[in-house]
């Protein structure tokens, strides 16, 4: 009775959020050609969690990723990376945020062709004028297993190896959050599952936060949580997904959609 305050302070801390969106909207074009890509998306991405974002083409999943990753400016609502409200940052600060606090894995062409694998991995740190943390780099390299390929240029690497370099680069700077946009879309299933295993490992062993857009239910199955989007809205969520549960949910969302296409 006499210690309501104390009682409050002892309640368990809410989970820290690596990223968060509040009523996020994004509209392209004007008038007749207006397209509402996001219609009020509010999502939390807790730290240390592997999130997958799924949805049919045009559902807004890529737009969501771009807005979260400070590559695109929302029309309305808020994006927070950690405690930072992206709308309050200018272009320079956004660039610095992407460099220092975010990791990226794109579907393809992730690497700079004139730099070798190790230079590509250290790219964000070197852009910042910093030396990469050698011990951490070792850990990352052990995870993705590229030691014998470090001096090779991208053109001398297979697609799977290139994508492993991209994963290593995304992890090398210990970013608060890694965004992956169809990271396995261009790979065969074996190379793809390797990449997904690395991402899973980084979450399990190093508490990395990952947000991955994919349309592949078996890729989404590596995640802790799958968020489903349709028509620019969040239409569902699945915890501890398997390929089957994801597939079923997708089917229920849109009977016409053919998952995997």
């Amino acid at each position: 009775m006499s210690t309501p305050l104390a009682a409050e302070t002892t309640t368990p801390q809410p989970v820290t959020l690596a990223a968060r969106t509040v009523e996020l909207t994004k509209t392209y074009g004007r008038g007749e050609t207006e397209v509402q890509a996001l219609r009020g998306v509010s999502l939390d991405f807790p730290a240390g969690q592997f999130n997958a974002v799924m949805g049919p083409s045009g559902s807004g999943k890529s737009t969501l990723l771009h807005c979260l990753a400070a590559l695109d400016t929302p029309t309305g609502g808020t994006v927070l990376i950690g405690d930072t409200d992206l709308s309050r940052l200018n272009e320079k600060q956004l660039t610095r945020l992407r460099r220092d606090r975010i990791g990226f894995i794109f579907q393809a062409y992730n690497l700079v062709p004139t730099l070798n694998a190790s230079e590509n991995i250290a790219l964000p740190q070197r852009l910042a004028g910093r030396k990469p943390d050698a011990a951490w780099l070792d850990t990352v390299l052990d995870t993705v297993g590229l030691r014998d390929r470090l001096n090779h240029r991208p053109s001398e690497l297979s697609g799977g190896q290139q994508q492993r370099v991209a994963v290593a680069r995304a992890l090398a700077g210990r970013p608060e959050i890694v965004f992956a946009d169809e990271p396995t879309g261009n790979l065969d299933s074996r190379a793809g599952s390797e990449i997904l295993s690395f991402l899973r490992t980084s979450v399990d062993e190093h508490a990395q936060t990952i947000v991955m857009v994919t349309h592949d239910p078996s890729a989404a199955a590596y995640a802790d949580r799958v968020v489903f989007l349709a028509d620019g809205r969040v239409v569902g969520e699945l915890r501890d997904p398997t390929a089957e549960t994801v597939f079923d949910r997708l089917k229920s969302l849109d009977p016409l959609s053919r998952p995997g296409t």
Partner: protein, 845 residues
Amino acid sequence: MWRATLSNLTAHKVRFLATAAAIVLGVAFVVGTLILGDTLNATFGNLFGQTGAGIDVQVTRVQAFATQFGPPAGAAEGVPDDVVARIAEVEGVAAVEPTYDGSAQLVDAEGAIIGGQGPPTIGTDVPTVEELGSTDLREGRYPETAGEIAIDAATAAERGLGLGDTVSVSIDGPVQEQTLVGTVGFGDLDDLAGATVTLFDDDTARELFGENGAGTVAVLAEEGQDRASVRDRIAEEVGSDFEVLTGEEAAEANAAEIGQALGFLTTALLVFAGVSLLVGSFLIFNIFTITVAQRTRELALLRAVGASRRQVLASVLIEALAVGIAGAALGIGLGIATALGLRALLGQFGFALPADDLVVNSRTLVIAMVVGPVVTLVAALIPALRSTRVPPISAMRANAAPVTPRAGALRLILGAVILAAGVAALAAGLFADAGLPVVGTGAVLVLLAVAALSPLVTRPIARVLGAPVAAARGLPGTLARENTVRNTRRTASTAAALMIGLGLVTFVLIFTASLQESISNTIDEVFLADYSVAPANFISFPEEATEALAGVEGVAVVSRTKSATVGIEGDARTTIAIEPETFAQVVSLDVPQGDLADVAGGGVALDEALAADLGVGIGDTVDIAFTDPDAEEPIEVVAIMLSQQSGAQVIVSLDRFAEAVGEAPDSSASLLLDEGVTVEQARPALEEALAPFPTARLSDIADVREQITDQTNQLLGLVFALLFLSIIIALFGITNTLALSVRERTRELGLLRAIGMSRSQARTMVRWESVIVSLLGATLGLAVGLFFGWIFTRALEDTGLDTFAVPVVQLVIAVVLAGVAGVLAAVIPARSAARIDILRALAVE
């Protein structure tokens, strides 16, 4: 195919404009030069037409060995009074007008000369027969007595001189004050091509200039007489010592003479225009190479749907043709402005040219419309042929990025062959006197060979040049360096365009430095005097000036010379007359045989090479014509000397000269001061003594050196100004290559920006790529320029250019400026690299 080409053109306006610009500037330079040449020709043609309008026949003395370097010894032989009288008696002659003319130097109130630094300073008499006069009164009246003058209206206006003003004039004595009583024009012109014209009354003019007769005799024919018949009758009367021409013939002859001199100027300017076109063609070659590479997929698609190789070739060449025609058309427009710019530029460097309405001949337009498209087509030929080798299957490949073949053995062999041919042509031209066109061809071949070979050295050179950039600029610097070696052929040919300009700059710097140092060394060896006096108008100064110096306290020795042109076996030879007793004290010449002082006995000293040509030695005699070609005098050779130090091929004593020629003004005087009198102590008194003689310029050895440096530096400035355009075109090429490369690397830039490259880092990356390319061009240019400088100085060693000097500081400045230029060239592409839309760039395939 036409439609595909044209739609391609409109789809790539920027590239089209860049290509056109390369050709526009080169064509504009050519057109500007031709317009300027035609305009000057027309100006002088008009001038002679105006001044000689009323003359039916003109009589002059045949000059035996007159050269462009000056009149024969003494005053020119003219038409004597008795001949003038005989002409007046010839049937059909209504009136004669003998003109007595010479050089009269106007002097301003401060004692400085007016004009006389190029265009002539003419002194002449007042016309007595109205129809035959070349001048027309503008204001006041003609001079009637000694002490009165009239001058040309242009000079009067320029100097703000009005009727009644006192004007100083120097002829062959001290400055005399004259009263201005009139101003004159020439037909409807006020300006005689920049010359100053001073009119004296007839008696004065005759006294001043008429010692040997009239310079020209203008003849007015009677009404109804045919000019040609009158001409023939006069010619018969006066004989072959005189040249008799109708008015038209005389005007044509005059215009032709001027035209020849102007032709030299036009040729020199066309060489620079050619350099601009050469640089422009590199740029075009580059643009087409890059665009063919970028269009690989599109070309493959055309081939896949059935276009033949020939059609693909035609589509590229038609694009080149269209660009060439458009560029040439624009070049013509810009050429008019260029002509005005060139005229102003030459004026800035002391070549005052008359300002008149520009003359655009149809020949100029035809040349422009041929040169523009042909240069473009030739430059685009190799990329066009390359485009035909794109296999149709490339259209199906996901990654249609062009494969760049490595610079191979073929390139090495071809480059080496061209290089060998170029060096051989240079050597033949320079050492075996095969002529300037051969030298030019050799130089162009060497430049092309270096351009062809440069991809082989681009990688190592760019790595070295880029190392400090990578170290200083971190990752953007590293990427800049790596980007330059991404496509070595592209980098090399972009740099090659700048190489040409920098190679020529280097060459000119080395050449002038070697020249200055050689002359300076010669001066040190030869110049023993404390002071020397030279003519400020480059002709002569009065004897009284030298005499005035002799009277100055502290002067121990004064040694004068007079100069002239004499005839030996019909060739004009530069000659000086010296005081044998004192000359050796003030000038130290190399005299391999005999003794220069022996000319005191009436003999002659000959240049070693001339003596060898003539096949004479000490003790032999040579026949020398001083004034009259028919009156050769045999003179004994008493010494053999080296002309390169004195500039004169023939040396005689003043006494011998006076005997043969009579009176003449001095061409130089050298002074030795008394022991203990310093150069600086003597200066005020000497300057005061020379004050009445503005055409005599006093110099000590430091002044002489400075004058030579000033002259060569002025030439240097002009050459740089003319090379400027080609350097601008080369920078344009760098801008264009970078812009195309930035576009090609859009996806990569998007990636770099997404993972944290800042806009300023993107700019830095492009900027330093540009700087490295520029410095690569500068490095190649330095190498080529050093070679050119070396081989040219070696070739000219015999003429006294015996020092090979490398002006390190100036060359370093040139290289630094090339780097700065690289920064400027990168401004636009760097901005577009920094401003790419990341999301759109990432979406690019």
